[in-house]
Subunit: 417 residues, 2 copies
Amino acid sequence: MKAHIITIGDEILIGQIINSNAAWIGEKLSEININVGSTSVVGDDVKQIIQEFQRTYDSNDIVIVTGGLGPTHDDVTRKCVVDFFKTDLIIDENVLDDIKKFFEVRNRKLTKTNEDQALIPEIATPIRNSRGTAPGFWIEKENKVFVVMPGVPYEMKGMMESFVLPKLQEKNQNKKIIVRKNLLTTGIPESVLYDKLGNIEELMEGNKLAFLPNQFGVRMRLNIEGNSIEEANNKLDEIEQKIRSLVGRYIYGKDNDQLEEVIAKLMIDRGFKLAVAESCTGGLISSRITNVSGSSQFFERGVITYSNAAKVELLHVKEDTIQKYGAVSLEVCRQMAEGVKAISGIDIGLAVTGILGPTGATPTKPVGLVYIGLCDEKICTAKEFHFGDNRLLNKDRASQAALEMLRRHLLGIDYDD
Amino acid sequence: MKAHIITIGDEILIGQIINSNAAWIGEKLSEININVGSTSVVGDDVKQIIQEFQRTYDSNDIVIVTGGLGPTHDDVTRKCVVDFFKTDLIIDENVLDDIKKFFEVRNRKLTKTNEDQALIPEIATPIRNSRGTAPGFWIEKENKVFVVMPGVPYEMKGMMESFVLPKLQEKNQNKKIIVRKNLLTTGIPESVLYDKLGNIEELMEGNKLAFLPNQFGVRMRLNIEGNSIEEANNKLDEIEQKIRSLVGRYIYGKDNDQLEEVIAKLMIDRGFKLAVAESCTGGLISSRITNVSGSSQFFERGVITYSNAAKVELLHVKEDTIQKYGAVSLEVCRQMAEGVKAISGIDIGLAVTGILGPTGATPTKPVGLVYIGLCDEKICTAKEFHFGDNRLLNKDRASQAALEMLRRHLLGIDYDD
């Protein structure tokens, strides 16, 4: 079954609101194996909305519409439904009761405008709204399903979960099952990852593999088809195994995992404690680590030594090392990692120093140059990185590289890049 | 001129990524008075993409496409452009140079896959990409404009700002003028702000005012119409003046201003230096401050004293104060602010301690309890705040409240809530 999602509202077209409704609905439909082939956004305009109804109704099995069901003058969706299906509005007594109760409970006075929200297109089954006043509409005609819901995310989600998703699942006697998994990599460019995987067609056995890069790394999304959940999951396991045998060292997690959560688990499992010394990342690494609930079990302290004085006073970096090599250097970075470990009396010290831009470059040290250092009981090492020229993206990249360096260290994987 | 935006990518249809590109482009086009009538999303499927090109090209003056331009097999947009416009691919030497330089600077090896990205549809003007390797395409035909850009937001935005928006603005001679401005407030609830403004209709003289709250505060968006830029701007100035006379103390900036940028300007203007001691915010305040280029002019250092030992050793917080009042208390917070100021030898110390959840609450100290302290040469104060129960939102709220406390301190405005 093929579905299309229409979102109605000028505020989305001009970017005042991001279309999170379509994303949420798309995710939920995918979960029950309904294929969302396309989505669209149109403004609060009767003619345009009816045209969009026609176009998408013709070429899909399911059309899901949100928005424009409120009580004010710019909410025209109900009128469009009536025109499009050539039907009439009739009062639905159950919905009217719902609305009356909604106002009673809140001690608010019911107006004529509110009462009118109980007017439902005759062709539709009302979808009752436990979280607001506007009902939704479920229309079945010519073996197609046409669903209309309010644009308020909380109300729409309530209707989807209690009514729309169960009904669609019932109708969707599915043959083909699709399972999805994301494998998250970092510290390897997209093109290198691609090359290391060799012949993708052969590897995936006709299934889909997508590469989705951002400043935190490259996400590989696998879509695997099967005749049953078991078959699809077995195929997924088999293909994932092959991928991991080729590029497993770069994979730090799956789906919505965050690298800091992976680190937290590894650190707590091993009973290690961490201290962090940051210069250019300015606290971002510590902030990411402390995003994880329970991080106090392994994160002891952090210092942000933005000035040279702070590096010397807090971390005992040698003044003549700064003089000789500069604050952004392999040597200073190593001393920072060593220093933060020593003052905290814990297992691992992690340190970052660099030039993130847009200013601060020197003839020998360009914007994007970053050093990351790591010291534990046995080793004390630092590595050079080259990132781009955007300060904020560089902060993300540097924090990600530092956490990845720690991950590979904990797992005994070389950071070769 | 009527525009349509097409976003390409399965990941958007299934809700893994929210379509922020369309929102951003829609906002930018609105700003130069180009009307975005509709937007759509289609999957990584050649046939479907070409159909969507045809449909939207027929009924719009401008079509803007993002996504599917990467170097891997699932990036099919370029092929679709070639098929749709019945053109050929040719190597663009300038683009090839850009790509070679991109890899040179990053010390990475160029592959054949990367080199192929310099192949441009013959009909197109390449849009050069200073932030990545895939070029965009600008196509003008039959008085229509067709633009294709990569889906990576940072790369797309670079192309829009440096090339696409200026070119479109040139082509668009407009009549009715709308000017927009956002006034950013924090430390005041939406309903209180609303009440303080009194009669909104009268205040706005028929123009639009929207309230957009999030964890950082409430944004007021003004849309002001006029027959000319001058007329609209004069009206805007007049209305803004009235709003500021009512709630100016809560307004920290406008449009895309960040509170940390406002702080940076104030601190640098006054020649003050800052040190920050964080417990629950875990480095977020320092990270936000150091997001601002030039922050090293006033930010001396930060410490993240997650453990009690770190509070005592680094900040000289008294052990018996922690024993008596607990680490999350007004007293410890004040000592943290005092301590970080003293060890850094600078003008202002800012400190935060709290319980951000989901764990860590005690019978007397609930999740969401946060103390923020500030010390300078004259005063040493701390304040109690109560936030919600979501850890990450609480981090944002606490960091915003701390920065706002500093802003009001610098401007001599009472923090009365």
